[in-house]
Subunit: 456 residues, 2 copies
Amino acid sequence: MKASSGIEMMVRLERGTREPLRVQLERQLRDGVRSGTLRRGSALPSSRALAGELGIARGVVTEAYAQLAAEGYLVASQGAPTRVGGGSTGADAVPLPAGEPRPPRFDFRPGEPDPALFPRAAWAGAIRQALREAPDARFGYGSPCGVPELRNALATYLGRVRGVVADPETIIVTAGVTQGLTLAGRALIARGVRRLAVEDPGSVFMRGPLAALGLEIVPVPVDDGGLDVEALDAGGAEAVLVTPAHQYPTGVVLAPERRAALRAWGGWVLEDDYDAEFRYDRAPVGALQGLDRERVIYLSSISKTLAPALRMGWLVPPPALAADLRREKHRADRGSALLEQLGLATLLEHGELDRHLRRSRLEYRRRRDTLVAALARHLPHARPHGAAAGLHLLVELPGADEAELLRAAQDAGIGLEGLSQHTIAPGPPAVILGYGCIAEPAIEPGIRRLAELAGA
Amino acid sequence: MKASSGIEMMVRLERGTREPLRVQLERQLRDGVRSGTLRRGSALPSSRALAGELGIARGVVTEAYAQLAAEGYLVASQGAPTRVGGGSTGADAVPLPAGEPRPPRFDFRPGEPDPALFPRAAWAGAIRQALREAPDARFGYGSPCGVPELRNALATYLGRVRGVVADPETIIVTAGVTQGLTLAGRALIARGVRRLAVEDPGSVFMRGPLAALGLEIVPVPVDDGGLDVEALDAGGAEAVLVTPAHQYPTGVVLAPERRAALRAWGGWVLEDDYDAEFRYDRAPVGALQGLDRERVIYLSSISKTLAPALRMGWLVPPPALAADLRREKHRADRGSALLEQLGLATLLEHGELDRHLRRSRLEYRRRRDTLVAALARHLPHARPHGAAAGLHLLVELPGADEAELLRAAQDAGIGLEGLSQHTIAPGPPAVILGYGCIAEPAIEPGIRRLAELAGA
């Protein structure tokens, strides 16, 4: 019995398949090199020997060797055996990506709705309908701004619920508020904007991507009336990022006279309307955009109402910036995912989103009441702010060491944020407690534990 | 808390003023319709519901509705909700956004697969499964780079089919190659890259977004061996955008010695592997990335294999740029849509994509053969290039006036592209004919018509 190179151990050729023998051989040798089964530098059998071992024509082997040499997986040299080349790696040894981080034991992290409330059945039905009914042409490159069905449904919804005046022609469906802000930031920079005013405190996650574009960030104080517009005016910025309906993280509402002053200010206004759908004991506050369509870039999303993972939001531009923003969206990704768009349009048209929000409001209000009561019981000296709306509270803790408390909370499995993460000028010691994700029964024990850590 | 129609958001009734509640309500609803806040055709809440929300007698609402219906601002119909009527003006009067443009009569436009081949049933099943099985935690903010299921499936698929060596940890799921290029462009600019070399001819749609980032574009000639690497070296660029497996639009394959030279060149390489899954009469050519993981940024998508409208692709970064690109993706949109990711992962794991590609290849090959035959018959002097792979041909038309022919073709309802749209230095008169979308029976008459226009 003749000696064997051992290669036939790894090569398995199937006859009578659509894939030619030569291609099968190439593929399996390529895999062998990549996986490291064929070690770098090791010699391969001669084409005659391998052909003999595999029982195929020699020409098939020489062609395969030549192709793999062309690709760099093999090195052929005159009068010497063909060897494995530099293409060798260890691809198969790579670890799995880390899974999603596990939520903390007491999950007071702000900024996310309860995923357990996501209307899976309604969403599945809407997607199924979209896949059944969408014409073929929909599956090609459409408008970068989104499908007409969704832009029309959004114009109606935003007008009814938020007082937004939106021309469906100019609405841009985005991958969420973060993308909307980066598109707006680039469009404004192209218009010569260099300095962006932000609320202080204000969400670091929203100003971060804008600062990364090269905009100079100008902090403007926030008081009980919201953004200090006089300070804004003095700051010399050409644009401002605001959360008028429910300031993040303080929860205050921009006062009527401040709204008028902001309108008179005359700069570009980025309105982040991130959680306006959730209010409990106060009259709704319309979007600024309804009062000033010429200067306001309105942004919101379904990240608080449905789920962040769907990555969908929208942007309503002022007429003067509509073409610029359309161009930026086209450059960024040529448009957003089709099926989510058609699905959301269906939910809006059928009133499913309204129904979902009614159910959600009842649940979140219960949690809010439980949280407020637990704070009063276990942290009597704490000062909660912004309880009237949204999915979080800002809780001042006079005399506490915020940094120390955050460390202790993390060790104790309590998820929350510190006010200092969102302030530019130093603020009072305070924590931000979200009640979007935490189950109601966990609220009381969670706050009790937090109170122990705070030494209350 | 009771349901809210949102209308009370815009209505402000003041008691104890001289203006009766009914008149206040009428006036404010009228203003809402005039301003477009209430869009034409949108439904109003029932008189009972609105009366409840506003805390007034139902009769006040019915009277106001009746008055506004009489004025034409509202349309009341028996047993149906009262709707905003034609008396309205403003935002509600805007036309619908332009629908997707209608495809031309003879659709030879390159760059898109046949939407009729999209596996709707398989995709619907995969999405349904994802919605049924995904744990709640998946619906929150996940990794900006994508879900582990898809990154693992991609690493296996790209290794098997393209010879790409990808660590699932570093793969970034994108909204398509365009987004991948903008992320890569920003990361390279942050590393000091200023000049980007591109193939000439090369896709204007790919270099466009990179030029928009401020990169100086350095054209490098393409010949029968692909990119002229000597010219690249002389051009002084720090990075290059290439299509090695199937150059766009010429269809040439980067020659083995050029691959070696490009590897030796040492700059950053953006590898756009846009349609490698489609080849007919030649051996597959592995991705450049499999040979040089340190310098190549590998990009591809499902836009040619499944559908552009799903907006999904991926990027395999060199280890040195993995963290930078992850940061850029987080800043751009905090991640891609969840359900498309889980759906594609399922298709890959179950071999559905392979099955779909086998069916598609047979169909596209038939169309390719019909197109080549039609050209030989009706445009005997034309010189087709790149017939061995892909979804398009580059057809040189010696002596023709390309610009004139493109105008005539458009008037005649023939969709195609001209080579001059993609060249920087002037090239020969030529057209790019795609066969991804056109039905086979339309190919022969389409080419006959084109030949008439070309005066052949």
